[in-house]
Every structure is written in C-alpha cells, then in structure tokens.
C-alpha cells in the first residue's frame, strides 16, 4: 500500500475490501472455505491482526501477550450475556471497553521498556493472566471448564424487556437474528469492515505518522517536541481494544469462553499472521490471518486416507513413500507446514505476502511500460516497509 494515497484510492480500497468480504461465502466455496465457521474465524482473526498491526506494524513494539486481551474480551462478553442481555452489540461494547482497560494496565507497565524487554514483559503479564484464569480468578473464569451460559442466568435486561428463552440454552441474537451460521458471519463482517476503515484512517492520519516515527527514531521524536510515551500507550490500547472486540465476537458466535484463548501460542499466532502478511501494511495482516486460518482448517482436516487418494496416480511404492512423508505435515502436524511456509516467506519476502504482491505488480507494470515504450521510472511511493526487527 502506498502511503501517499488519494481519498479516491482509499475509498476504492474500502469498497473493494467490503465487496470481497461480503462475497466471501461465494468466492471461497470453490477452495473449500465457504462455510460459516471458517468465515467467522477469518473475520475475527482479521480484526485481531488489524489491531495488532497498529501496535507492531506502526510503532515496531512487538507484543507477545495480545491473546490476553482476546481472552479478557471473551470473558467480558460472556458475562454480559449472563448478567444483562443476549444482544451482541452490548456484549461487544463491554468486551472492547474491558479489553481497553486491561491493556491500559499492561501497557503502562510494559511500555517502560522497549525492544526485547517489552516483548518479554508482555509475554510474562499475559501468561500471568492465563494462569490466574485457572487459579485465583476462577470465580470469574470458571477455571478449566470455561465460562458458559446457563438457563438460570439473570439476564436482567432481557427479562426487563420481556424476552424469555424458555427451557433451552439461549444463543446470542441481534433482535431475533441468531448469531451462528451465515448471519453470524455477516455480523462479524460488518464489524470487520468498520475496523478496517478505522485502521485505514489511523494509517493516513498525523497520529499514524507519529506512530511510524516511533518505530523510526524515538530520539529525534523527543528532540522534535513529541512525547513518545502517550503515543505508544495509545497505540497499545487501541490494539488492545481491537483484540477485546475480536474476543467478544468469538463469544458472540459461540457463547463460551475458555482460558486457552489467552495462552502464549495464541499470542504467537497473531504475530505470525502479521509478519506473514506484511507488518506495517494495511491489508497484509488481514491476508496473513486469512491464509493461516485457511491452512489450519485445510491441512488439519487431511488424514492418511485423503493423502492415499491424492497420490493414487503414483506407483504403489512411491505412493506409500509420499503418503508417509506428507502425513507428517497434515492433521496434527499442520504446524510443521505453517513453520515451513513462515520460513520461506520471511527469508524470501521479508515484507510478507504484501511485498510479494507489490513485486508482481511492479513487474507487470514494467512489462506493460516496455510494451508502450515509455521510459521506466520506479514509483517512489510503492515500497514496502522494513521487515520487523
């Protein structure tokens, strides 16, 4: 994404993004991803990665504890369901606010340091939250069982408005539309588009420019009259709110919350998504989230039977060899595939998939220009930010 975009280009991008997202159920059916559970995950993790990118992509502060906000958002949403109402909008507002408040605390502590010390502090604080969810915080989190809805929940607002769910366990619904299946996906998608729009505004704003300055040279920033701390804290809290919102959406589409969402592996996953897609680019993290969630679903569903079919055309001994080698990379072992993919991307495309797209685009542009015999001039705007350190 170029930085010196015109308003028209920005609107085109937003419209294109919205169209692709809303048409995703049709577009992704041929590749086996056109079912609502996976599409919801695309949107939810897309929001998570968008928010993470505002912190990591712009300021360069690598948080290894962002899953804590995801988990806190989930718990906050489920509690809102239990205590107040099954309406997802209220739950999401509460999840976003609680995620934000939680990130003020963690950000205030960990932003006293930068670089690897910041990363370790966020990791430590997130792991503390994770362990607390299993120990002292069990009255809130319900420990290993996870926080679930119950028929006996008060739901005072629902009761006040005369909504009765009868003898079945309620699911979240937006004025009568249940938030599972495709309605759930479209609900997530609308919020995803709003988040993308906000992220785009931040990227283009003076505030976003200052966040990039944080990454570039903090020393120069302070001698230029800018106070670095509130900028980093604001970025941290905004990304924490995105994560809280994403956690809330998880609870909306499936109303239960467990502490495993807060584990460090979940924090690592959003780092992978952002770097894989291209940290600091607007679209990259969204693409990274989509690719990782897609592969997770596709490859983890493969088993030896499928592989045997796949290599059916080979002679028997080769088929057997191929199946036994490739079975290591699918099913439970799909993380091996992810690891290999990640290594290839980081080594050959340090700017992530977005760098790959930009390279292809400029290659095509160059070929087209050669055809029309115009002098070549590299576009100074089209560049990919430095790989994260």
């Amino acid at each position: 994404m170029g930085r010196n975009t015109t308003p028209k280009q920005d609107w085109m991008l937003l419209i294109g993004f919205s169209v692709v997202l809303l048409a995703a159920p049709f577009l992704l059916t041929p590749v086996g991803a056109g079912y609502p559970d996976l599409l919801q995950k695309f949107a939810i993790f897309g929001i998570f990665a968008l928010g993470f990118n505002i912190l990591f992509g712009l300021t360069g502060y690598l948080s290894f504890g962002h899953a804590a906000f995801l988990g806190v958002g989930s718990y906050a949403a489920v509690w809102t369901f239990k205590l107040f109402s099954m309406n997802p909008i209220l739950a999401l507002i509460v999840a976003t606010v609680i995620g934000g408040l939680f990130s003020v605390i963690i950000g205030f502590v960990s932003l006293r340091r930068s670089g690897i010390y910041f990363s370790i502090l966020t990791l430590a604080l997130a792991q503390m939250s994770y362990n607390m969810a299993y120990s002292v915080a069990t009255p809130i989190t319900n420990g290993e069982t996870g926080l679930q809805l119950a028929q006996s929940d008060p739901r005072i607002l629902d009761v006040a408005f005369g909504r009765d769910y009868g003898a079945v366990l309620p699911s979240s619904d937006l004025f009568g539309i249940h938030m599972n299946g495709y309605p759930g996906f479209y609900f997530c998608a609308v919020i995803f588009i709003a988040c993308f729009f906000l992220s785009m505004r931040i990227f283009r704003s003076p505030f976003g420019m200052m966040l990039r300055a944080v990454k570039s040279n903090q020393n120069r920033m302070s001698y230029t009259g800018l106070n670095v701390r509130p900028y980093t804290l604001a970025a941290f809290v905004i990304s924490g709110m995105y994560a809280g919102l994403a956690g809330g959406l998880m609870a909306v589409t499936d109303p239960l919350a467990g502490a495993e969402r807060m584990q460090w592996t979940a924090s690592g996953e959003v780092v992978l998504m952002t770097i894989l897609g291209g940290a600091g680019t607007l679209l990259g993290p969204v693409i990274g989230a989509g690719v990782i969630k897609y592969f997770e679903n596709i490859f983890s569903a493969f088993n030896e039977g499928v592989l045997t079919q796949l290599f059916d055309f080979l002679p028997a001994f080769l088929q057997h060899a191929m199946v036994s080698v490739s079975s290591l990379f699918v099913g439970e072992g799909w993380h091996l595939t992810l690891g290999a993919l990640f290594m290839v991307i980081v080594i050959f495309l340090p700017g992530g998939l977005m760098e790959g797209f930009n390279r292809i685009r400029s290659l095509v542009a160059r070929l087209l220009r050669r055809d029309t015999e115009e002098p070549e001039k590299p576009d100074p705007i089209e560049r990919v930010p430095e790989p994260a350190e």
Partner: protein, 251 residues
Amino acid sequence: MSILSVENVNKNFGGLRALNNVNLEVEAGTVHAIIGPNGAGKSTLLNCFVGRLEPDTGTVLFDGQSLLGLKPHQINQTGVSRVFQTPEIFDDMTLLENVTIPALAKRDGSFRLNAWKAVRGETEIHEAAHECLADVGLAEKSQELARQLSRGDKRRLELAMCLVQDPKLLLLDEPTAGMSRADTNNTIDLMRRIADQGVTMVVIEHDMHVVFSLAEKISVLAQGTVIAEDVPERIKGDARVQEAYLGGAHL
C-alpha cells in the same frame, strides 16, 4: 538582550569534572560559537541545554524560563531545536514526512490523538515543509526515503526539520564535520542565510574557517571552563586561547 543565560553550571561524571562553573550569555539574534579542544565539555554543555543531561548545580535560563528538570520534548516546545553531530532523522520515511512531523509537533504540541483527519489534508503544513526543504536545497528529493541521502544531505534535512519549527534558538553540533570544502562552504552560506532571518544560533565547531566566517561571539572552553568569551577578532589574538586550543600555533 540575552535569550540563553547559563550560570555557574557544573557537571561531574564520576570523578571527572566535565563542566566547571560555566557561564555563558547568548544574545538574541546572534550566532554564538563554542570552540575548544576535544573533551573540553562542549557537547556536555549542549546536552544540558536540551534536557539530555541535567547539570549538577547551576541554572540554565532560556527566554527567562529555567530549562532544568524539563524533558527534551518540553524544551523543544519552548522553542529550542537541535541538530546533532550524527544526523538524527527518520530514516525509513520520505523527506517530506521527515519535515512534516516537526511541523505538526510545533502546531499540535507534544501529544495529540489526531487519528481521524488525513495527513494529506494538511495543506498549510505541507507548504511549510516544502518551503523548508527548498531552503536547504532538497525540494526535488521530497519523495525520496531519508536513508538514501548522502551524509551531507542528511544534515541539511535535519536542519530543515529544525527550521520548519521556526525555533527561537537553534543548536548545531559540528554542522560541517566530515564535509568536503565545497560542502562546508555551502553549509556556511546556508547558515548565514538562516542567521540573516534573525534565528539565534549556538554552534559547536572545530573548523576555524566556519567559526570565523559565521560567529559574532565566541566562547572558548577548555577542561570544562570558559577561558575566554569575546568577538572573533579578539579571540584570534588571545594568547590563552592559542595556548589551550592550538598548543601555541598561530590562528
């Protein structure tokens, strides 16, 4: 009228006395040079003006206000800009962005959550930024990344970043170090033009050619003490200065 007045400033690093009762008065609208041999305490003194270091004792008054205890960004907001010995710029941003940031900092203060409006809509800021880039001769490169610049151009960029803030006091730490003679002369011309606009400057410099073609007043620092402060003509003839600074060689 003095815009910067330094009184009895002392600074120790462990057992080393870096600044010893330094007194300095910088007149508004003048170019004041600080010279002295290596290790004389020139950079330490400059660091005390911008909040990088805190003097052990003494006072630093800028425009009637004490700078002690203020953070670097607060001092900049009072109107002090600094050019570093090794250019401190935003390497992975364009030149225009590099100059836009200080202009925004001057207008919006040290923090503003200005996340809704687009930078491209800041027409006045962009005009000011372009003007300053043109002043230092970098207008054509405004869309290039700062890291691609030569060392001399980086210094010029940093100067533009300070000028766009329209500072009351401009501090320059060896602005011509490592430059060729031609580049040095260009820089002298540039600084003369800035001085003619009435900007007060404090310059640390090793190159006597630069010092004597710019400075209206010179302070000589040796071993943390100001041993002479006078107009260039009389500094040239000062025996103590020659002894301390040049080991007796003639200026």
